[in-house]
Amino acid sequence: MNKTPILELRGITKQFPGVLANDNIDLTLYQGEIHALLGENGAGKSTLMNILYGLYEPTRGEILVDGKRLALGSPSDAIAAGIGMVHQHFMLVPPFTVTENVILGNEETGAAGRLNTRTAAKQITEISQRYNLEVDPYAIVGDLPVGVQQRVEIIKLLYRNADILIFDEPTAVLTPQEADELVAIMRELVAQGKSIIFITHKLREVLEVADRITVIRRGRMIGSTTPAEADQNKLAEMMVGRAVHLELDKGKATPGETVLAVENLTVNNELAQTAVDDVSFVLREGEVLGLAGVQGNGQTELVEAITGLRRVVRGTITVAGQKATNQSPRKITEMGTAHIPEDRQKHGLVLSYGIDDNLILNTYYQAPFSRAGQRQAQAIQQNAEVLVEKFDVRTPNATAAASTLSGGNQQKVIIARELNRPIKLLIANQPTRGVDVGSIEFIHSQILAQRQAGTAVLLASTELDEILQLSDRIAVMYSGKIMAIVDANKTSKEALGLLMAGVSE
């Protein structure tokens, strides 16, 4: 590897009101390396990258690209200096084609200001061949799967000749297969001279792909290491500052009465196609049923049908002995159901509300939060203070807007809300997406505590490790059907992988 620093961050400090998000951080990126940035939720990773990309202006510090000082707080200067960023939430225009998206903001026009998409499309094809980023330049972006949309984002950077690529949690929304493909793409990019800063919470990926690893904790640099010197436990410890138990001893399940019964359930997706196809299963008190499957095989629709967010076409759902088929979400919640939704910003939170108002999102109308139709400010605030403390939400105060929280802390707000009332059924869909190892440990222990307390848990996750660790039984979905329900102790990743691909023995 070439040992010339292409990028140097020196003494970067960022003070938000009440939060020192970055505290005197130094970071060096060498040309041709993949540099992983690790840290707990709220450690300040995204802030640091937003500073590098010019979205935020640092309170102090300087940035050198190729030894030259970079003007701070200006994305256009950062882009001109060859810095590109793939944001967690893609910045694409869904109805536009791949080419239109790539050239957006950088359009080449011919005579009379006509867009010249043909040469752009040719360039895109060249880029995609050169870096193995397979994509059709004329496809409509909205029709593409998430993994391919992400490729479009990468092409967009390459089209602008970015040499320093920032990936902020790129794998959080990807299926394991897509994540593997992305890793291959990253390798190809550095092989051809690009340099990458890679943020993720998945330690396995870090060890697999990174050349160097830098850990930050509470805004400070803790240290650097390499995959050769570290293992998952050591990384976790550096991040959190204490030993983290990556393996859980969950004890034996003692299933009781049936809490959730799903019979011959059929549900459609938005396009009126069958998404859940004649599915039946039961879930008992005190057990965890894992719902495994490649994303898009009906898990989302199944969960939405059970929680009342989607209409049932055929079949029945029973929760705690009550008919829950096509009942309102409110009714189903009142039957004792808690729901950790898959997309926290779409369903789980009102971003402009404070943490306090988000913590009462589905109990706001009950005592003690409401009396005679009036909001009880004191009870609402007290509830927030208690939960912020108990669930370790990192925030300057309990009234801060949810939008100012880091991704993982937003997730903790939802978990706190859903687990803090008496429930019989917990539906958790991707509960640890984008969450750091310390918090994963915490969330997993909370889910197991619910199981111990007799709650029935339905856990949908695309992470097989998570499914295997927490579940007593595992239902594998493929193409809207449940392929099999297997005993978690008597199966393996490989066996599940086959079922997820639609192969039954």
Binding site: F16, P17, S46, N50, L55, Y56, E57, H87, Q88, H89, F90, D168, E169, A172, T307, L309, S328, P329, R330, K331, T333, H339, P341, D343, R344, Q345, K346, H347, G348, L349, V350, L351, S352, Y353, G354, D357, L361, N362, Y364, Y365, S370, G373, Q374, R375, A377, T399, A401, S403, T404, S406, G407, G408, Q410, Q411, R433, G434
Partner: protein
């Protein structure tokens, strides 16, 4: 519930107003008059005498209501452009109850106001219902219903219930339905202030207000939380229309003294400007309406003393609306003066 940057939400409209007045001054200057004299006369006309003050308050009153109507609907993410139609129906129904019913004042006044409220509320509620049932966008339906309202009310004023004489209007309301004034302060104005406080209370301190705002900010989360989104939309439109209708009723009972269509022209539309100037904050509606009311109230004095065409007022109002709506212009100006750390969050993806 929401915690916006307080300073900014006050500074931006204020700067917009000042800039609009400044540009207005330039236009007055170009047209050959003295802007200082013009604005002086405007102020004099609006606040220089008890009569002027009374007129300013009177003009502001319906503006508070129609501004509040727009601001309120906005909290649920709804754009009620139909304030004009709702206000017309409110004015009409109050006018009918005002002359056709005989009751002691203590009952007659509130009954007529209530009638106007319900009329406006139902009319706007119709738009809400069309939205939830058929997905018809409220901007389209409220605009169309404006036309229908203006034609129906014109017909009623010129047809079955027409007063004697040639003017298309209803008979005068009975004395027992007239809203009196307390010195220079019209009762309607006081009512408007009370209603502003009630509206703010409803939005911030009640569970219904929490539902309305949640639906406005994130309808998906509202559904997830078990809120009845469709019902909330209809209810919000109903209340919004109720506010506009109340403005119409008070105009009939406190100012015009009968239903006469021409007197209500444009009042509902000004509500949009006022809600924007107020940054959709209920309390902000009061100064915004006073400002617009004062400019309208002082316009004739300005024309008389400084020989400036009163249309300049509309130009200045238009500029204000433009500047608050395109508030990036002002944000940039403020930032240029060294205000940092108030930048909006640009990336909102989870994980960021």
């Amino acid at each position: 519930m929401e915690r916006p940057n307080k300073l900014q939400s006050i500074a931006i409209p204020l700067i917009a107003v000042l800039m609009a007045l400044l540009i207005g001054a330039v236009i007055i200057l170009i047209s050959g008059s003295n802007p200082l004299a013009a604005y002086g006369a405007l102020l004099e006309g609006a606040f220089g005498s008890a009569k002027g003050i009374a007129r300013t308050l009177e003009k502001s009153t319906p503006l508070i209501f129609s501004g509040l109507a727009v601001a309120f609907a906005f909290k649920a993410g709804l754009f009620n452009i139909g304030g004009q139609g709702q206000l017309l129906f409110g004015a009409l129904v109050a006018g009918i109850i005002g002359y056709a019913v005989s009751l002691p004042a203590l009952l007659h006044i509130p009954l007529a106001v209530l009638g106007g409220c319900v009329a406006g509320g139902l009319y706007a509620g119709l738009s809400g219902w069309l939205k939830t049932q058929f997905g018809a966008h409220e901007v389209i339906t409220t605009i169309m219903l404006n036309f229908i309202a203006s034609n129906i009310t014109d017909y009623v004023a010129d047809g079955p219930l027409k007063d004697e004489g040639i003017i298309a209007r209803l008979p005068q309301i009975q004395d027992s339905a007239v809203l009196p004034a307390i010195g220079p302060v019209p009762t309607g104005f006081l009512l408007a202030i009370v209603v502003v406080f009630i509206t703010a209370w409803l939005l911030d301190k009640t569970t219904v207000g929490y539902e309305i705002q949640t639906v406005g900010k994130n309808p998906n989360a509202a559904k997830y939380a078990g809120m009845k989104v469709a019902r909330t939309v209809v209810l919000t439109m109903f209340i919004s229309g109720l506010l506009a209708g109340m403005g119409g009723a008070i105009e009939t009972q406190g100012v015009v003294g009968r239903f006469q269509p021409g007197f209500n022209a444009g009042l509902g539309f000004e509500g949009i400007t006022i809600a924007m100037l107020a940054k959709t904050n209920p309390y902000g509606v009061i100064p915004a309406a006073l400002l617009v009311g004062a400019m309208q109230s002082g316009a004739s004095q300005m024309q008389f003393d400084a020989k400036v065409a009163p249309e300049i007022i509309d130009v200045v109002l238009g500029l204000m609306l433009f500047l608050v709506s395109a508030d990036m212009i002002i944000r940039r100006l403020i930032r240029a003066r060294g205000d940092d750390d108030s930048q909006p969050r640009l990336s909102s993806g989870w994980g960021n």
